[in-house]
């Protein structure tokens, strides 16, 4: 548990309270002006300003609230899992505060508090839902003191930010030990590494995952990260692999295997055209659920299972789950379908080989030749080390590629990767400027055509801003 005394307890004394009020007011003002002047959603700015005035702002508000606090972390699926959890809580009559735009570093998390609290730091919510970047967890978790921690999965992600896979995992596992008995840890049982978490933790553990042979492959794909036993380093044997290293696994040497799943998708019917809906039967400790998810792909079954497990852990029950999940929409940039006049755009935010491969596999099922726009940049959030592009199976889609525009500071590397995936050179063009790249790609798609955009984080936001200016999408903070 965190030691509050050494942090001064911002909200206890009069000067402390005044400072907290000032911090929250200034943060709110910054967010409002950001939206007013359309310079951005103000999703991390309010938190940044507020923390500058009172570094304890998040800690102070968290210490006094009676709301349930759910933290969702992991490499992939955080945003959609959080949205699904929010929808279930909302349908169950809970008032939810949520960093729903996916601004998941410490500032974005603090923004939730600044946006939803009054100036005295009081929150009028039953549930505080935080999506948190796995690298931010060590600083954010002690400040939040969550009731439920969900770990979706751990994939190779931005090696240059967090060092290697195991150090991220080790840090997360260690953090779980600080949770009290009253807390619940929700873990992906299909992820050999995540499933091994919390062995030393006092908190209750709830495992979610898939247990079916309706989907998946017999062996993990090449970009899989953890395929050796977490205990004895022997190669794991898979009965079925659903997504990268997620699957039904067993160690032939020491017998380590996946834990018994509390929330398990036992029957899955995916849309063969890769577009949705997905029919899922889910077993839970509170009974069986029949779900129709309007979203495509196995990854969204994981998101739903994680959200259901989180809702059970938080005490929301399962009655409202089918209704809540039946009209869930894609989060911004998650293969988001956008109408652009008579043209259709699918916008996918891709940040690691797993998410990129997943999108490629889905759109490969869409009929016809593909017009693509690929954008990758080097910024803090996008990462400097772009080596992982070579773990992306562009070969799977190269026979379907009609044309590609590459943009961003990594445009040349993208073009070269396409060349080595044997996409003919005359179908590939580099256009650095974002709007020009979008226009050229739309021109490639032609009247009534479909354009697929795969972009890293910053370019996804930039492209969306352009589309918002053109009236094709709502600003992401108004979704």
């Amino acid at each position: 548990m965190a030691d509050y005394s050494k942090h001064g307890g911002g909200g206890t004394s009069w000067p402390g309270r005044a400072r907290l009020a000032l911090a929250i007011s200034a943060g709110k003002l910054a967010g409002a002006s950001g939206r007013l002047f359309r310079i951005g959603g103000g999703t991390s700015l309010p938190g940044m300003i507020a923390r500058r005035i009172d570094p304890n702002v998040l800690r102070s508000v968290m210490a006094t609230t009676t709301a349930k606090k759910i933290v969702i972390t992991g490499s992939n699926g955080k945003t959609t899992t959080a949205r699904m959890t929010a929808a279930i809580a909302d349908a169950s009559g809970r008032r939810v505060s949520h960093n729903r735009t996916g601004s998941n570093l410490l500032q974005g998390v603090t923004s939730v508090v600044v946006n939803f609290a009054d100036i005295f730091g009081r929150l009028d919510s039953d549930l505080l839902l935080f999506e948190i970047d796995e690298g931010t967890m060590p600083v954010a978790m002690p400040e939040i003191q969550p009731d439920v921690v969900v770990i979706t999965n751990i994939f190779r992600d931005q090696l240059d930010r967090y060092g290697e896979l195991y150090s991220v995992a080790k840090a997360l596992d260690k953090l779980l030990e600080s949770l009290p008995e009253t807390a619940t840890i929700v873990l992906n049982g299909n992820d050999p590494q995540v499933a091994s978490f919390g062995q030393q933790a006092r908190a209750r553990k709830l495992y979610f995952g898939l247990r079916t042979t309706d989907v998946g492959r017999p062996v993990p794909e090449h970009a899989a990260d953890v395929i050796r036993c977490i205990r004895c380093n022997e190669d794991l044997v898979y009965e079925v692999a659903y997504l990268s290293h997620l699957g039904l696994y067993r160690c032939p040497n020491c017998g380590y295997e996946l834990p018994s799943l509390d929330v398990a998708a036992t029957s899955i019917h995916l849309d063969p055209r890769g577009d949705g809906p997905t029919q899922v039967t889910m077993e839970t400790p509170l009974g069986q659920l029949e779900l129709t998810l309007p979203l495509p792909g196995v990854h969204n079954v994981y998101n739903a299972a994680a959200a259901v497990a989180a809702s059970i852990a938080a005490g929301f029950g399962i009655e409202k789950v089918p209704a809540a999940l039946s009209n869930i929409r894609t989060a911004f940039g998650r293969l988001e379908k956008i109408q652009a006049g008579d043209q259709t755009i699918y916008l996918a935010f891709v940040k690691n080989p797993t998410s990129f491969n997943l999108v490629l596999r889905l759109i490969a099922q869409h009929p016809g030749e593909k017009h693509l726009l690929l954008v990758a940049s080097n910024t803090v959030v996008d990462g400097e080390d772009f080596a992982w592009l070579w773990d992306v199976d562009l070969e799977e889609i190269s026979p379907q590629v009609a044309d590609v525009i590459c943009s961003g500071t990594k445009a040349e590397e993208l073009a070269m990767r396409l060349k080595y995936a044997e996409v003919p050179l005359d179908r590939v063009r580099v256009i650095h400027e974002r709007e020009a790249a979008l226009d050229a790609a739309l021109q490639n798609a032609g009247p009534g055509g479909t354009l697929y955009i795969m972009a890293s984080y910053t370019p996804t936001q930039e492209l969306r801003r352009i589309m918002q200016k053109r009236g094709w999408v709502k600003p992401y903070w108004e979704e």
């Binding site: 896979l165 080390d385 990594k410 256009i431």
Partner: protein
């Protein structure tokens, strides 16, 4: 234009890919793609064997051996397994097989690797060098200058991400001189190591695709072992040259930073305007 398969030369390059899953942390399979495609485009066939733990093939049958990077945990597994493979690997190195060893693979071709925490790992001792773990990681864009009789002075570009500090003994030559980045140990200004046809480097990215001159050097030397001197017909490398130029620009822009990510401002630092060109 399209890259077609080259006219069949009847040449076959035999490749041994060491620990293709265990040691593959930084997508270094791109090195294999570069070699295979640049051979294919010239009508040279490639035969690839994947070599896993517990297998002890005769490594002298390979013209080229790839040995890539992994995290400390994988490295431990590899180090233990390597001892059974070491005699045959050494024989291959002495018989002029080409090795490309990257990061952890590079370290394990040396005498030893002492991590910052944990027990020392024994290498295979093909390269006269040893490595010690440091407390900070070098994680940045890197460019080095190399010189070889076949191609004169050339620049290698890539990304480095390592806490190991490598020190060369008299039996190994550095691969190149650091232009930007940190290289072997951040002190002596050199990067990588060469002994006969054994090349070790910290450069990933992966290193070969955007350094086609180096890929072709490895292919030429690998073929020479069984076929003598083979002239590789030139390819259209304009795409690779542009990627090389972009990576070189990044290396220079980040020169002196230990961690590129810490030094990156939120906005893109290089905005090359609205240049549009057909490849």
């Amino acid at each position: 234009m399209t890259n077609e398969q080259g006219k069949d030369t009847r040449l076959v390059l035999r490749i041994g890919h060491l620990y293709p899953q265990l040691m593959s942390v930084a997508a270094d399979r791109g090195n294999l793609f570069a070699i295979v495609k640049r051979c294919k485009w010239r009508g040279i066939k490639t035969a690839i064997d994947q070599i896993f733990v517990r297998q002890t093939p005769d490594f002298t049958q390979y013209d080229l051996i790839l040995f890539h990077g992994g995290a400390d945990r994988e490295m431990e597994v590899a180090a233990r397994d390597l001892q059974a493979k070491a005699p045959s690997l050494r024989e291959a190195a002495e018989s002029n097989t080409v090795f490309l060893a990257v990061c952890a693979g590079y370290q394990l071709l040396g005498h030893s690797y002492k991590p910052f925490e944990g027990p020392e790992l024994k290498g295979v001792g093909i390269l006269d060098l040893h490595t010690e773990g440091g407390s900070t990681r070098f994680m940045t864009h890197i460019a080095i200058e190399c010189e070889f009789p076949e191609c004169g002075k050339q620049v290698l570009v890539g990304y480095e991400n390592h806490s190991g500090r490598t020190y060369l003994g008299p039996g190994a030559q550095p691969l190149g001189r650091v232009l930007a980045g940190w290289g072997n140990n951040g002190k002596d200004g050199y990067e990588g190591a060469v002994y006969k046809n054994v090349f070790g480097t910290y450069l990933h990215g992966p290193v070969l695709p955007k350094n086609p001159w180096f890929t072709d050097l490895l292919i030429t030397r690998a073929l020479a072992r069984r076929y003598g001197q083979v002239e590789l017909p030139p390819l259209d490398d304009s795409t690779e040259q542009e990627a090389h130029a972009a990576a070189f620009k990044l290396a220079m822009a980040f020169k002196g930073t230990v961690s590129a990510i810490d030094a990156t401002p939120w906005r893109e630092r290089l905005s090359p305007g609205s240049a549009s060109r057909s490849l």
